[in-house]
Symmetry: C2
Subunit: 179 residues, 2 copies
């Protein structure tokens, strides 16, 4: 049995923005029907789980308007056009926490919500940390918080850490470091 597919018949652009675009595609399904699909276009993202030599993870707290609250997350940001993933991971880590990593190891990669959004997040474990600050985005107000990885896992399980990249990154970092 062939894989299910959808053939795009027409596409209408609704918005071209700064961090996302929106279009509406008309598709033909494998059963012959047609359907509308709203697609939010979003550049890829890198997220970093920075783990120091004491087993502490370095997290960032910032207000998230979409969540209507301040969230505690792993450092992350958009990959610049043409930028290599590992270079983007080092840059975001330096901008948001002031550290650079001697070692980056890929933990996971995932679509955040593939039913409508193209955003894909690449998650790295960063170790061998040393201070190396880099000025970040003036539009961001970010506070650094450090805690044992096991405490971060507890916050994930309690639902206090609650965004996809941080949940995935912290759970996978914990799995790796316990093997």
């Amino acid at each position: 049995m062939p894989e299910p597919t959808e053939l795009v018949i027409s596409s209408r652009r609704i918005h071209d923005g700064r961090i996302c675009n929106l279009r509406e595609d008309t598709v033909e399904l494998s059963n012959g029907r047609t359907a509308l699909r709203e697609i939010v276009e979003h550049d890829p993202v890198v997220a970093v789980v920075p783990l120091d030599e004491n087993g502490d993870v370095i997290l960032v707290r910032q207000y998230r308007l979409a969540a209507e609250e301040a969230l505690l997350e792993v450092p992350a940001g958009l990959v610049d056009p043409g930028e290599a993933l590992e270079a983007a991971a080092q840059r975001e880590l330096r901008e948001e926490t002031g550290y650079r990593a001697a070692n980056l190891r890929r933990l996971a990669g995932f679509f955040v919500s593939p039913g409508f959004c193209t955003e894909f997040i690449h998650v790295y474990l960063a170790t061998g940390l040393s201070e190396s600050p880099l000025d970040g985005d003036e539009d961001e107000d970010i506070r650094v918080e450090r805690m044992p990885l096991v405490e971060a896992v507890r916050l994930v399980e309690e639902g206090a850490i609650k965004d996809a990249k941080s949940v995935v990154g912290i759970l996978m970092a914990s799995d790796r470091s316990s093997r």
Copy 2:
């Protein structure tokens, strides 16, 4: 030190769609600067990890236009307006797999991408499965696939299962069932 916040000064609606809306807010940061924030509004979602008495997980494969490929995922869907989360979880499970669950246990909840999107996914573990089909959405072409939970964990680690709700759900279901 107070939590960082952002005060919305003005808001412009760009699109009101079927599964998402888009607006652009102007905010005042705690440092006094103003910034623009594009916000995609999306209703909450329930995702279900259905685990049968043999330790097999029931997954669904469907084409995802935003990912430009067919993905293997846990069953999931939008919560209808006014619908309770557990009722939505049972409905989506029946529509997409033909099973209902005697037991639902909450595993996690997370924002998919809180930098710009309001979507929050509630993830449940479903056990005590029995056949109870319910007609689903005619706009969807969904294939059911069953495999041992340990095999699904392997596919997550290899990156073959690669969407946020499925990665989180399968990792947390595996953690729970190994304790």
